[in-house]
């Protein structure tokens, strides 16, 4: 195949084309159209990543408001503040919003934004699929919240056990909107997981062998594979539930051969890996921050990677510990007790390695490190109460009480939200080009930390005193009054901390100190790009000679990629040897249109099964138009993807 002579194909970056001239050409090639059209058609992983993060944090605030309403209702016994029906919708929406609309999406959003930068490439692997996944996710979230505001919100709990969520005991369309929201968020999460796997395996910087991949990227790889293997379980379960409710299939009808436990098995086979999907990226954040602020690679890198992979594998083997009270054979439970306990080992090892890294260096305690220390103090308590509920005799008393509520808030808020808030503070300069304020950051940490422990440490005792979960009120005289009031006060203290954090973000957007490319002196590749990164990330594709590239004397780069058309380099999986110059898709409106068509199909299929037949046609058309080349055939020219 003769090389093309066309000027667009021959213009390549390198020593002769560098600096501002190269930046002008590349910005024009990789940039978006201006205004709303550009905003709707962009496939830039940074723009989609930012809007993913902002949307997920908005859902966190909405979910947090619901939590405050619940705490107000539970502040006093027999309070008539809200009715039982409204409370059931609120606690279901709190759980579903936090788990499906905030936690998983925000961790994947950070992956979408950071992984391409940290592996040293110019775009995420399937950028149009990335845009499609964001639109689908936000439409799913809007659908659920509009249903909730129309008093058609789900009132069956975030894990919607049948037969309560079944056709007979959940009249109307409430449970259907919940189940369809699962389909939306699950398709979006799977799409992002596929992109992250492909980006990490095929687009790493030349020289970034498997033992030079940053620990956060390892975390995202393990998370992506867990999403790929666990999400189909909840898809199947929610599709079976939808068909039970719409066309009368008998999956969960005990009298016709179905079983209520089929739902629990399918859901928790996904449910437990999901909570690890939420908290493993948190471990990745902590590793990245500890490495930077200790100015030393994390101690025992291979042990850390092995621990991540072990947690990922073990997570699939212990879902039955959610079902200890359902009367399954006791010997089977013993296996799941052992598996649930075993997961404390890799977590414990990781905790040791971080503390050892701090001890073996002179850590600088900037605000992100406050969150890391807060994470260690809080998450370890969550892990230890997890060991308690892993034991059958203890779990038979502790299950479905406020002790378990305290446990999973310690592991999820302590294990994932604390590192997340630290990560926002840590990568805010890279994303926006400005530093967040130090003093307000510390104030926010103190308020959130104090409020959190005041709220949830108390709940351990509320649970031990016998208060079950998900009760919209409770009788006086059981010793729960002061404890519940303390939790309510703590919840408002924590909420004030979150608002201070939000204020810090909004203020720093305009008035934050200008941050250079590498304000923290970090070692990973994203800090080699400008702050905020140019549309093309790197003028020349960086190469890597160690696991801490920016702490070496110089950064080797590779030239020779096209500048007039979007192109990046694919490397081999294990050794990351440059292999292929691959064109990268250009911006297009079709992912948005395909997402709208898919939304129509999903919402219509709540009301009629024929939606799957007729609704699929517009989706097919949109997908074909998305894939179809937009310009005439390029005989003998270098390939592009329009």
């Amino acid at each position: 195949m003769t090389a093309s002579e066309h000027p667009d194909d021959t213009a390549r970056d390198g020593p002769e084309l560098d600096g501002p001239e190269l930046d002008r050409i590349l910005s024009e090639t990789w940039g978006d159209k201006a205004g709303l059209i550009g905003w709707l058609t962009t496939v830039d992983h940074k723009r989609v990543g930012k809007r993913y993060i902002v949307t997920a944090m908005t859902f966190m605030l909405l979910g947090g408001m619901l939590a405050l309403i619940m705490r107000l209702q539970l502040a006093r016994p027999e309070s008539g503040l809200i009715t039982a029906d409204r409370y059931n919708q609120i606690f279901t929406m709190h759980g579903s919003t936090m788990m499906f609309l905030f936690a998983v999406p925000v961790m994947e959003a950070f992956g979408v934004y950071l992984v391409p930068l940290m592996v040293g490439t110019r775009a995420i692997s399937f950028p149009r699929l990335n845009a499609f996944s964001y639109w689908l996710y936000v439409f799913g979230g809007i659908m659920l919240w509009v249903a909730f505001l129309r008093d058609v919100g789900p009132d069956i709990g975030w894990f919607a056990y049948t037969p309560l969520s079944g056709p007979e005991y959940s009249p109307g369309k409430r449970a259907d909107f919940w189940a369809q929201m699962i389909t939306f968020t699950e398709v979006a999460a799977l799409a992002v997981a596929v992109e992250i796997v492909a980006t990490i395996l095929k687009q790493r910087a030349p020289g970034m062998r498997l033992d030079r991949i940053p620990l956060f990227v390892w975390g995202m790889l393990v998370t992506a594979f867990m999403v790929i293997f666990s999400m189909p379980a909840v898809t199947l379960a929610s599709s079976f539930l939808l068909s039970d409710r719409l066309v009368g299939t008998q999956f969960y009808n005990a009298t016709e051969g179905g079983s209520a436990l089929l739902w629990q098995h399918l859901f928790w086979f996904f449910g437990h890996p999901e909570v690890y999907i939420i908290f493993i990226p948190g471990l990745g954040f902590v590793s990245a921050m500890v490495e930077t602020f200790c100015r030393r690679p994390v101690f025992a890198y291979p042990v850390m990677v092995a621990a991540l992979v072990t947690i990922g594998l073990l997570a699939f083997g212990l879902w039955v510990h959610h079902m200890f009270a359902t009367g399954l054979p006791r010997l089977g439970y013993a296996f799941y007790t052992a598996a649930s306990m075993a997961i404390a080992l890799p977590s414990g090892v990781q905790i040791f390695c971080w503390i050892a890294t701090m001890w073996d260096s002179r850590p600088r305690f900037e605000v992100p490190m406050w969150w890391v220390v807060g994470f260690i103090i809080t998450f370890v308590i969550g892990g230890l109460t997890g060991v308690m509920v892993a034991s059958v005799p203890l779990d038979l008393e502790l299950h479905d009480t406020y002790f378990v509520v305290a446990h999973f808030h310690y592991t999820l808020i302590g294990g994932a939200v604390f590192p997340l808030l630290g990560a926002i503070t840590y990568w805010f300069p890279k994303i926006t080009g400005r530093m967040m304020n130090d003093r307000i950051g510390k104030l926010a940490f103190v308020l959130v930390f104090a409020g959190f422990h005041l709220t949830f440490m108390t709940m351990h005792f509320t649970g031990l005193l016998g208060m079950p979960r998900r009760v919209f009120t409770y009788p006086a005289g059981l010793g729960w009054e002061t404890l519940n009031m303390t939790s309510t006060v703590g919840a408002f203290v924590m909420a004030s901390g979150v608002l201070v954090f939000l204020g810090n973000i909004l203020a720093s957007l305009r008035r934050g100190a200008i941050a250079g490319d590498n304000p923290w002196g970090a070692a990973s590749l994203e800090w080699a790009a400008t702050s905020p990164p140019r549309p093309y990330n790197f003028a020349h594709i960086p190469a890597v000679t160690s696991s801490t590239p920016l702490w070496e004397e110089s950064l080797p780069v590779f030239s020779g990629l096209r500048v007039k058309q979007r192109e990046l380099v694919l490397t081999t999986v294990v050794e990351a040897v440059p292999d292929i110059r691959d064109p990268s898709p250009t911006p297009t409106i079709w992912p948005l249109i395909a997402a709208l068509a898919t939304t129509g199909l999903f919402i219509w299929s709540i009301f009629s099964p024929w939606a799957l037949v007729w609704g699929a046609i517009p989706v097919g058309i949109a997908l074909t138009a998305w894939f179809w080349p937009k310009s005439p055939p390029r005989h003998g020219r270098e390939p592009v993807i329009e």
């Binding site: 189909p232 199947l236 590779f558 292929i580 110059r581």
Partner: protein
């Protein structure tokens, strides 16, 4: 304090497409196979779980008629011959061999969809009769969606190959990966065939 950069190599000479593990979309297809394979495995798991709930299997109905199912399986297995030829031709970028093979596969796909209609007609149970009927319809419907989506994708690719775009090497990569996905479609059919047609007869 941005770090000093030194030029360490030139990527100009690299090719712009590759087959198999060298291609990015190959990894995307593999990932979706993992997702859908996981979904099939869990649906199979649900089948056995529901079977364990019943004393007699199939409860209160005939198992699906063997003829359409066996015919479908025979043809889909035979379709691997043109499918492998198509994959080799695509990787050798022999455009005219690819053109008639891909049209042949589209026709085979159409025949299979017709036979699948007969399978649905002779499944001998309604999805709302009992959990056995529900899981049978679910398995058959899930697999049919996979055949339909792959067939539609092949149709779009066939039309594209006939246009000028058909000469570009990346299109041959697409055809090879489409053939790979068809291989996944009939591989996942084998266990489903066993669950639908053999297990109710043997157990």
């Amino acid at each position: 304090m941005s770090i000093r950069q030194t030029f360490a190599g030139d990527l100009k000479v690299l090719p712009t497409h590759g087959f198999g593990v060298r291609s990015l979309t190959w990894w995307g297809v593999i990932a979706y196979m993992l997702i859908e394979g996981g979904g099939f495995a869990l649906a199979g798991g649900s089948y056995f779980y529901l079977m364990s709930q019943e004393t007699v299997w199939p409860p209160a109905s005939l198992p699906p008629a063997l003829l359409p199912g066996a015919l479908f399986t025979l043809i889909i297995l035979l379709s691997e011959i043109p499918n492998s030829l198509l994959k080799k031709a695509a990787e050798a970028q022999q455009r005219d061999r690819v053109l008639w093979l891909i049209v042949l596969l589209d026709l085979i796909g159409l025949v299979l969809l017709v036979i699948r209609g007969f399978e649905f007609a002779h499944i001998n149970v309604r999805w709302s009769d009992n959990a056995y009927g529900s899981i049978l319809w679910a398995l058959l419907l899930l697999h049919t969606i996979h055949i339909l989506t792959d067939w539609a994708e092949s149709l779009v690719l066939t039309v594209l190959m006939f246009t000028g775009h058909g000469q570009e090497p990346r299109r041959f990569v697409d055809v090879s990966e489409d053939a790979l996905y068809w291989r996944f479609v009939w591989i996942t059919w084998l266990p489903i065939f066993a669950l639908l047609y053999l297990v109710p007869r043997l157990v």
